[in-house]
Symmetry: D3
Subunit: 241 residues, 6 copies
């Protein structure tokens, strides 16, 4: 099974999947340092939409968009038939299945919350969210692993104790690799969005290859008419889709 | 990987999982012909709670409760640490991830809807449901595969065209094996709850064994105190848990 | 009028009803010390479902299930025609009718909240709840009346002042008899679930006996086919229903 | 027990209560032929607010406002301490307690629905309503009992069969006395709002007289300061409250 | 363009509108010192309903009801065709359009919240409200401009920092003129309900005069039959409408 | 006052505004024939984000994004301080203020509904929507004015009669100019999204210029750090913002 992971390099994501799965991790648009702003997401999506269309042509089995805003998720699903997974949608779905009650989401800055909250509402899962908690960290600051872990621990603990969260979702792929230790310390599940995205992608890829199940192409993810699409795609990317 | 599937015999469920997964299918309580009534579910749960507790002791990696009411799901998760999957919760989660808009659920009789609707509301996914449609079939009548398929096709088509469903969930494991043909005919995903339950169980088992993630034991799924529990369990089942 | 109250002895409930009403209080299943866990509730329900079926045969006018989880409520309503009241549903309904805004619910431990919250959502009344507050008491600990009252007073006051609750519901029949004093001290209604269950039961019994109104038997509370049911009931309880 | 019923004459409401209860029915403001319009309700409320304030002084135990818009309910509860019941709130609460799933409300004209729907949303019970169905009758037309019954039967049947309502609420006191026959014919509970209002009022009066429980006076139903209120009341009604 | 503003004198509202707009500000009913209580609102509405009906006859282009409870709004829209604006509805709509996430509302006393919350729910905008915060001021106390401003600043700051409000709505016209300074200090929009009401009224008046758009007269705002209405109006106000 | 309208040429939009307002209408990205697909919207947004940033520099008072998906609305508000109006948000807000109950939205094809529904949910107004009705027209087909009008009339009438809509919103700027006639024929308000967008923009521009009120820059619309943003913008557009 071959999965494209957009947003984090191969060596940092390969460890999350089954032995029989191969992940190829690619960076977001090199022009953009991070995706905290809507404008940045928008620009970065140009690049990864092209990458996802190409991955399908090359025979990949699924793709994961590795940003907790789930940017470009609807666009990508419109353009391809293979499963495309958003790490936010995957993480919230898993969190809801392992929590009897509610779970919390940790984000870097309050700036992120309104869009993510609207996204969660669209998925229907907002009623399961106990709280959105702010770490006070930008994405670049998350490279300081120690400092980030301390902030994650602090807010996850508060979510568990004050907000009665039964599970905590790390709301940014910049926190990749941090879940395990905090989980051990606190004794509740801490969900890494990279792990969630990849696990759901493996499941979806299996459903797609063996049972023909992927996102519905009737309704919101309907593809554009092929000729019309090809013409636009060529104008944008300078080559056929 | 070893998964217990409660409600359908091994030979009918083994085909849904990966080659490396072994499913053991067991029947519901033999005293009960089907689980359409709350009282029947209640009685049948006595038997499968015991089976799930034992499966964990024997080293199973996950269990699936194969009835769309998700009976005994909260009880079982309270008693064990390994993942326990309800086919309703698994199916609705998958359906929500592959639908841009809404999906429909097909049930045998209207009797079933109020409880299932309350369950869906508890999961937070009721806002994603376009309609609940009634086949006019009891569970025993679903053994007539031809007649059931015709009813499924009729209502799935109506859900797609009249209710704008982008995906259809078969709301009873009595419809096992029916999804594929209808999906081909209609061109939208038709979800078999047995398949959904097993695929989510495989994913959950992997998360559990490799990453220590299962349902949270802090909060609603907290286990009873061991001594108190053991005493009650022995009174009920005549042996230690 | 004759009412069966499941969960508390006759002498402790008779004081809540009209002079013309006779309550018979019976204990939950003797094998179970309390009903804090889903498994315990499940097992205890076996006993009281039988008691409710028999009460109807004996000419009782209504039954009350005296646990705030409302365990077995759907099952019991499926099996009988006379009104069956859940103390949680009754209390939340009364609280919503006497509050202009919102009310709070006090529970013993946070373990209880997820299931009760899902139940409240099913009833449609979750939007009226200001907060769920935790007393930090198990059901057995509630036998210490002084300690319980202090905890109830503390949390009810906080609900009134911090959460703007206009009314407080005691979310466990283990707090029976505690409402009155706290109500006097705080000056807002404090609802005892035993009182609420019995008052609603008296009203329902009157509606049933004089106007033929009880829970609808078309839809979710439809009874099983008599012959099928009788056979199962006999296997379970060793006698006809 | 003495209950004031605003909107219908004594002889038409006395039959709904217990033998030990005395109801006094009074007409709405004589200047207003019916309460279908918001302006009419507003004007009529002037009269019945005064009547409710006086009833409390005279020792009544509760009052019922007999219009399905629940006009003046908040105002009246602000002014008195004894329970004041709105027939809409009472009917929806009862309907929700006897339906496993949803119930429908029958109204005379579509004009009525938006306000009633907003009211139901305020009570928190809108999620339990399967449909609002229109009889095509004004309140004065409802005096034609035969014609009204036919319309009620037609729409109640459609609600049960097409909307899967398990119970039907008659959404106007102009339909008083019509429920019983339709209930017999259809086999599901049909709720008369006059009956519901009175039964809830009897329960509330008992809670008030014996247990000191009525609507909370802390929060939305807080009374005006006595002196300020008295001065305004005298200007409006020409006498002290 | 001519706009009637009910509740505040002309000289205090004229400054909010365009040069080409003329506002006529009239006081609420002189018998009532303020509108904090439902009864007071009710009585005051008698007066301003008459004023709005007359304003339409005199050729006004719109009316604004200057109390944050939006009292009499439905009644007035029923009686006239020209736009009638409620300051609460206008303010919440504007706040929702300028907030990416949520906004808060400041009220004088907690007494006000339940009714305003129900109103916001009816408008559909309750999900956008981060918090209702209490200033601890009656309407008469708001005449102390310094004290009020300090309270507004304190709670607006807390809303912004603790509740993550992106905008703050002043929930009483008694706070007219206070928004600007607090907005400068805090750096987020502070909405004055008088300004919001008037700006929406100007927009609505333009839509009405040039495009024939005002509140729909089909459905909830349907007017009473003219003859019936005239007769009642004359009885109430002693003159024809 | 100067307003930028993105998506329709100047001559077709100038007629909707006040005499003192000047609108400049610009086309969407010339590479894209219409915006029915998410990918198309995405690409077109590149162009109009640049145009909105430049309009602010040139002293425009507000901008309107003339597509009912409200594409790029969050991005644009992030980048500028002047008001940016989405025609969907503006239309739904106006519709909610002129409907006592619910309103309907007409769209060209069902493909559009899921995204628009999620958007409406984010705005909080989904509970006010009676139905989404499909015209069966692509955007290019809407150039056939006669055929479109017939479809609009047909579905608006059905919305009014069958779904009890009190107002109908035209859910695509391709229907510009069609509202007036249908409104006259049906007697309920029909909202043209171009008109709604422009009227709200005029109001917002006035609030911005005279009262300093625009979308909040604290929270979800926070701008990127100037230096970081300038560098990215230059890479994307080849010139400074």
């Amino acid at each position: 099974m071959k999965i494209l992971f957009v947003g984090i390099a191969t060596e940092r994501v390969q460890g999350f999947v089954d032995d029989s799965t191969k992940v190829e991790g690619i960076a977001f648009d090199r022009r953009i340092p991070h995706l905290e702003y809507e404008f940045y997401e928008h620009i970065a999506s140009d690049t990864f939409m092209e990458a996802i269309v190409e991955a399908e042509k090359k025979g990949f089995d699924a793709a994961v968009i590795g940003c907790f805003y789930d940017p470009g998720l609807r666009e990508a699903r419109e353009l391809v038939k293979m499963p495309v997974v958003g790490v936010c949608e995957a993480s919230l779905s898993l969190a809801s299945m392992i929590s009897a009650g509610k779970f919390s989401v940790l984000v870097g800055r309050r700036k992120w919350i309104p869009k993510m909250m609207a996204t969660a509402k669209g998925y229907g899962l907002d009623s399961r969210i106990a709280s959105w908690r702010v770490l006070g960290l930008t994405v670049p600051m998350m490279r300081d692993v120690e400092k980030s872990r301390a902030a994650i621990y602090r807010e996850a603990k508060a979510a568990m104790e004050e907000d009665m969260a039964e599970c905590v979702v790390l709301g940014c792929t910049g926190m990749v690799g941090q879940a395990r230790d905090v989980q051990k310390e606190l004794g509740i599940p801490i969900l890494d969005p990279v792990l969630c995205g990849l696990k759901v992608a493996e499941m979806m890829a299996a459903l797609w290859r063996r049972f023909g199940i992927s996102h519905s192409k009737v309704g919101g993810y309907e593809s554009p008419p092929p000729d019309e699409f090809r013409a636009i795609y060529e104008k944008v990317y300078g080559k056929p889709p």
